[in-house]
């Protein structure tokens, strides 16, 4: 499809929005697109004393990097071990299956009880949210490593860490990377939700919640758009690496 055709639906939405805002004629319910765009055009301007959009976005990104990074550091090694050793897999699988469906936000009260309000709670929620996608994909990737690849390596004398470094990890890398991409997406959703918790005083989630309290609906919508753009940007980044690094996966027969 031609790229400009893909611009039509957003433009159509913008048109409906414009018409609706004129009909409703109440900026506290639906501000005009122009007022939102004017907020977006000045992303470094301070908003009601709680910092600019850029400041808050960077803070949210930093929190995600902390929580997500911690989750990756734990989930990838754990996934490799679980994927490699059947007994450990059988031992831990029921526990993983039990914990996995609990939404990250259901951990909020516990997070507050353990870490109080602040960075640690938010990072913990992000950690929980991104841990499982990364873990599950890593386990799956390691478990599905082509048997012939492993046997070939054994025949050529690769054992232990050599087998791991030269065969298992590169073979599982595309699946792990998919886990990272999904995990990062979840982490990004978690940070915004976690920042809406009472007591938080910064971040994009906080900014749009705070703007609601002050009736700044254009800022709410502008914040949402920024959240969406950063999410899509991260996803494209992950996919870009996937395409360049792991093209062997799709083309391998």
């Amino acid at each position: 499809m031609r790229w400009y055709l893909k611009l039509l639906p957003p433009l159509f939405l913008l048109l409906i929005w414009e018409v609706a805002s004129i009909l409703i004629n109440n900026p506290f319910i639906l501000p005009t697109p122009a007022s939102v765009i004017s907020v977006l055009m000045t992303p470094s301007a301070d908003i009601l004393g709680s910092g600019s959009i850029i400041d808050n976005a960077l803070l949210s990104i930093w929190r995600v990097i902390l929580g997500f990074g911690l989750a990756v550091l734990c989930a990838v090694p754990a996934g490799i071990i679980i994927g490699r050793y059947r007994t450990i897999d059988e031992l831990l699988n029921p526990l993983i299956q039990l914990l996995r469906p609990i939404p990250p936000l259901a951990w909020v009260p516990l997070a507050l009880a353990w870490f109080k309000i602040g960075l640690a709670s938010i990072v913990f929620i992000i950690f929980i949210g991104s841990f499982f996608p990364v873990l599950i994909n890593t386990i799956d990737g390691v478990r599905r490593v082509n048997r012939t690849w492993i046997e070939t390596a054994l025949i050529y004398g690769a054992k232990g860490w050599k087998l791991l470094v030269y065969v298992i990890i590169p073979a599982a890398a595309p699946a792990v990377w998919t886990g990272l991409r999904v995990g990062f997406g979840v982490a990004w959703m978690c940070v915004v939700a976690a920042e809406m918790l009472p007591g938080t005083t910064s971040g994009l989630g906080y900014l749009i919640m705070y703007s609601y309290n002050w009736g700044q609906v254009p800022v709410i919508i502008a914040g949402m758009i920024v959240i969406g753009i950063i999410g899509i940007g991260a996803d494209l980044l992950f996919r870009g690496v996937e395409k360049r690094k792991f093209q062997w996966q799709e083309m391998n027969r």
């Binding site: 012939t148 050529y156 690769a158 062997w248």
Partner: protein, 258 residues
């Protein structure tokens, strides 16, 4: 066969029983014995279910015999072994590695320095006729070229025995014939002992010095054929046709008596 000449591979009363959880144990192989001379090209032939791949895997050290023993150069095989190299039917190349890195894999695992590794690797890439493709990835190659990479990778480690498990089974007929011819040329120049598993009678008669025929369920040694006529073999010759007919009849008979 001179009696004092040490056999490269000795298979003594080898049997394999697979334990299953749900059904009775399956006897895959029963009391197989034969010997392979240095430099010999052996084909192991049989209908599906005769355990020919299992036998090859046991020689490679990937499976252990339930009974009997396998000796390579006088020493028993107890696990994957640097004296042996195996070429699988497919999916054995590492798709994230270039041709050169694939061929170098075995040498790298043995801790060889990069410089020497590259020198040896380039020689074997040339030997299998893939110069110019050293930096390509497996997905950029045809099926036949991929198997040549696998052959180069195996030869680069200088094994005593080359084990091949239906290496050309996934190729189209034309490529297959060409690969057989090239394999013989490589075998003649590299002077390796080859054990070649196949279910194609034609392939066995074309390639092998001796053909070992296994019967199915349980896999037993049914016959050993000496293929005495010289290479390159003419598929349309009378002797070729007559041996092929004999072996085919035996295999048909083995399958019918199931």
């Amino acid at each position: 066969m001179a009696g004092d000449e040490q056999m490269t591979v000795v298979i003594q009363n080898v049997g394999k029983i697979f334990e299953t959880r749900t059904r009775d144990p399956v006897i895959a192989l029963d009391d197989i014995s034969f010997e392979i001379q240095k430099g010999e090209f052996i084909a192991i032939l049989g209908p599906s279910g005769c355990g020919k791949t299992t036998l090859l895997r046991m020689i490679a050290g990937l499976d252990t015999p339930t009974t009997g023993s396998i000796l390579v150069e006088g020493k028993p095989v107890t696990g994957p072994d640097p004296r042996l190299a195996m070429i699988f039917q497919e999916y054995s190349l590492y798709p994230w590695r270039t041709v050169r890195a694939n061929v170098a894999f075995g040498l790298q695992m043995r801790g060889m320095e990069k410089e020497e590794r590259n020198r040896i690797t380039d020689r074997f890439i040339r030997l299998v006729g893939l110069d110019g493709f050293a930096d390509s990835y497996p997905y950029e190659l045809s099926g036949g070229m991929r198997q040549r990479v696998a052959v180069a990778r195996a030869l680069a480690t200088d094994p005593a025995v080359l084990l091949m498990d239906e290496p050309f089974g996934a190729l189209d007929a034309q490529t297959r014939n060409r690969m057989q011819k090239e394999l013989l040329e490589i075998w003649e120049s590299a002077r390796k002992t080859v054990v070649f598993v196949t279910h194609s009678v034609d392939e066995a008669v074309y390639l092998a010095d001796r053909i070992i025929v296994l019967s199915p369920r349980p896999g037993r040694l049914s016959a050993i054929y000496d293929v005495s006529f010289s290479r390159p073999r003419d598929r349309t010759s009378v002797e070729f046709a007559s041996l092929r007919r004999d072996v085919l009849e035996l295999i048909d008979h083995l399958e019918e008596s199931q």
